[in-house]
Symmetry: C2
Subunit: 570 residues, 2 copies
């Protein structure tokens, strides 16, 4: 019998296709950015399309070659979005630097990635100067976000363009820390870009972007996304049961664009023509609330600590702000306390918890309600279920690996959550593939301990490193934290394992009281008692000023463990 | 500088992944099928998963090899859905035969495709026998949809299983039309399937299914879909602005599963855990309305003629049925008259028109309202816009090719609609790639004449072959038909080009009056006059009994052109 082949066109998946679609189909959609002076700048997708292609043309004129890394050190704004699409359009790889890391670490990461160019906000130049000696960029392109003129840029831009055109290496390209690289002005580059731009030819597996893991558990590791993975993630996360992204949405990404690409949402939003509202550097709760009044979002995204602060600010000053009606909030990056979901529900805001990592592009799973659960759950059950990490996307395979092999999906058996799929990392940039993060049969070891119930919902019990091993039993720090944060006098709480002479480890609760609230350890323990076995309760409660946070706003438990390393149990 | 590669896992796109996701994540979702006796049979996704894998195991035991074609001759029901996933799971290619074609044509197509096995509904065995001599299947698997016992199947099934296990060719496999192939019973095969099934290893470009074009413009041509194209189409069509498919949906595919795979919706619905309601062989308006009362859908799909008949039946017997509140209807396969959209809107039903072809998997574009249009359009403008073919999906590139190259998107310039993308055909099975259907630069020539407006909405002016060339001007038959069908006394209408001694061609309108309605040509022409230039109006109006239809329910204008080939203009 004749063999048969697919008759489908061999068209590669491409980020450029998404940009073309956006520019042609949604020319009137808006991109709004909040500037450092708190004013708003407005662009249309027609501007986005034109400016992004100009950026790509300019980068190529500056000598960008295929696969070259271009770092960004920027807040969330329209020019950063232009980098998301423009750097890959020219064949480059966008590398978002995390401006909340220590300068030495930023320099280390830029050097490890081999970044050639840098796009930096003018207001972040002081930070840049702190790591400029750790890695020498060939060119530094300054986006005048704050409006300050870029000293000496005119001369160097022209000189650089001339050199590139003549095929000569730029001055100082041979590295060495002696002379600082020339500064270019972002807007001037765009204005002078050649008009006849054509996208770089590419395979769908060619890289488009890279992010380093936040490195709270060791050296940061580079994850490199491809055209293929980015398009597949965009399609998957936008599905109705997941983020449910539409051209009618107004999306406010509070999650930084340097944190897992703002969860990949900017790519998906542009693909679908959604309005984008970027908060710029203004992430204080009052600022976000002000922005929500001016440009009411239908969808926001951020880590739980951001929303915790926001709802407290909102409730502390009743009548000053109104949370936009019908807004939905995607919350991830850390476990979402059930109390937070309840608190937002009282304001009519639907919180959907997701689970993911830099390695998973990052949407691994998201909570949504299955129709068969409707009406069958009491209020408490419903909120408990909403605090689960949800259901994986259709392209994400999940399994729970126990000590004796894969666990049943019975909601009880816990083990390491492992995942597999076309937008999940199978290695790290420049690392030995046998790093211990991947199984022999090709799954990513997430380091999260989880169970899956018969309905397919994932419950994250804890990070492997945050579990408390008490005697032969495990205690979940996440469950204790959620219960503590449900107390009305508690602002936030972190529970850590502290070495114990008899039990190996025992839980210590670090609790931040709400301003002016009076709460003592005894009362809190009485509050917790009904929900836990006696041996699961913390042995001590420490009242502290604030929980230390990582660069991405998550609780930094490693810091707390250091602080209490010498703790003596009574 | 170091070269950089994506660190993403090389996981292929796979239909098997969608089945696994459905079976694991949505075990309680339902599949409801209407049987020939009009009773309903219910399955869960848990059943679907188990039965589909059993089918795949059974096919392999019967000797199915990778790439073998397995034809289906079935109505819309759960076992057909099992074939959608089970045949590819075993490594085979599902080929849906169109039961509305002439038996000789079905036989020709089965032979051209090289189909090895056939899955057939018992109630369609009389049809099968009419083409059994044109193509000899090695095995015929009978699904007892109507419940009739399959004569002699027990003996042959056992014999066949024994032979396959022993590696011997089945009796009569060497073809020749002498002995009829043995019949197997579908349920018995499933019941006896080995339990240790593993998916066939595959590349994402391996074929999963094939469909032949309906062949109203020549010999049918085979389109072969791949794992990749099917997964990408499923993700794309399910996006919120397009079909917007969710696990909360109840989908009733009236579009036959042998017509462009029921528009690919069964794949997407299963991927997302939606409830499916299959009408079986009962497609009369009254039957569909009955089924809508019993299992109210949130989403239906079908060609315009189905909905035209349905709404007329519904309005002819007020109070007997209620169209399900909030239901949305995807309508495609032919131009949707604006009057139909208005009529459904009066019942609160939202009709979304799509455009596509067998060659486009098939969703090329779908109508949705952009937020900037809200409130800015008067009612007439709004309905006129809803009658457009909509906006292409993010992975579908479109262009309008005029005589002098690509047309501007100004809403006026018309040319041939050409499309490109990863789920669009670039060739036909067993045909010379240079068939005239593809451009030199790799686009599909759709044969549709269209314009695109500055908002990106596609307006299909006509099929190339249905345009009327009058003097040096083109007249759109679709626009005339839509205007005629807006007359309250008209049930349906088709406008064709008839040769004319002076003008080359002139329009002739073939009109079907509603039962009991009195309408004369003069009145109809007066009704049309305000919307058209004088020379665009039909030169004659013929009142006929019914517009002939193709096997897929579309107006068959070629038949009308034959009928009026000898027409003499007055």
């Amino acid at each position: 019998m004749e063999t048969i082949r697919s008759t489908m066109m061999p068209v590669p998946l491409s980020l450029n296709r998404l940009l073309e679609h956006a520019g042609r189909q949604f020319p009137q959609s808006e991109v709004v950015s909040r500037l450092p002076d708190k004013s708003l700048r407005r662009h249309t997708y027609s501007d986005l399309y034109r400016r992004t292609r100009a950026l790509a043309a300019a980068l190529r004129q500056l000598g960008l070659r295929k696969g070259d890394r271009v770092a960004t050190l920027c807040w969330n704004h329209h020019a950063h979005l232009e980098c998301y699409f423009g750097i890959p359009a020219a064949g480059g790889v966008m590398h978002t630097l995390n401006l909340r890391l220590a300068p030495d670490d930023i320099g280390w990461i830029a050097h490890h990635a081999g970044d050639r160019f840098l796009v930096v906000d003018d207001i972040l130049l002081p930070l840049y100067r702190q790591f400029a000696t750790a890695h020498r960029f060939e060119r530094v392109i300054v986006f005048r976000f704050g409006g300050t003129p870029v000293a000496g840029e005119a001369a160097t831009t022209e000189a650089a363009a001339g050199e590139a055109a003549a095929g000569k290496p730029a001055a100082g390209r041979a590295a060495g820390a002696e002379a600082p690289p020339p500064f270019e002005d972002y807007e001037r580059l765009l204005a002078r870009a050649p008009a006849d731009f054509e996208y770089a030819a590419h395979d769908e597996n060619d890289p488009v972007a890279m992010c380093y893991t936040s490195g709270t558990t060791g050296k940061p590791k580079g994850v490199v996304y491809s055209h293929r993975s980015t398009v597949l993630h965009s399609l998957s996360c936008a599905l109705p049961d997941y983020v449910g992204l539409s051209c009618a949405d107004t999306v406010m990404p509070v999650t930084p664009m340097f944190h897992a690409n703002s969860w990949g949402i900017p790519y998906a939003a542009v693909m679908l023509g959604a309005k984008l509202v970027f908060p710029g550097p203004h992430l204080h709760p009052e600022d976000l609330l002000d922005l929500m009044q001016a440009e009411p979002p239908t969808l926001t995204l951020g880590v739980p600590t951001i929303w915790l602060a926001l709802i407290q600010a909102c409730e502390a000053d009743p009548g000053r702000w109104r949370l936009p009606a019908g807004m939905r909030s995607m919350v991830g990056g850390a476990a979402v306390p059930e109390s937070l979901i309840r608190q937002f529900a009282r304001h009519g805001i639907r919180i959907a918890q997701g689970w993911g990592m830099t390695e998973t592009s990052p949407m691994g799973s998201l909570f949504f309600e299955k129709p068969e659960l409707r009406g069958s759950l009491g209020e408490d059950e419903w909120f408990a279920r909403k605090a689960l990490a949800g259901i994986p996307g259709p392209l994400v395979e999940v399994r729970i690996m126990g000590e004796d092999g894969p666990c049943a999906w019975n909601g009880r058996d816990v083990g390491e959550l492992q995942v597999r799929g076309p937008f999940i990392a199978g290695s790290y940039h420049g690392e030995d593939p046998d790093s211990g993060k991947f199984t022999g049969d090709g799954w990513l070891r997430t380091g999260d301990v989880a169970a899956i119930d018969p309905q397919g919902y994932i419950r994250i019990a804890d990070r492997t490193k945050d579990l408390i091993k008490s005697g032969g039993e495990w205690i979940s720090s996440v469950e204790l934290e959620n219960a503590i944060m449900a107390h009305p006098a508690v602002a936030e709480a972190a529970v850590i394992a502290v070495p114990h002479p008899k039990w190996l480890e025992r839980p210590l609760a670090c609790v931040v009281r709400k301003p002016g609230a009076a709460l003592e350890a005894d009362e809190l323990l009485r509050f917790l008692a009904p929900g836990f076995a006696r041996w699961q309760l913390p042995d001590a409660i420490e009242f502290i000023e604030a929980v230390p946070r990582t660069s991405t706003g998550k609780f930094w438990k490693a810091k707390l463990r250091e602080r209490y390393a010498g703790w003596e149990w009574p």
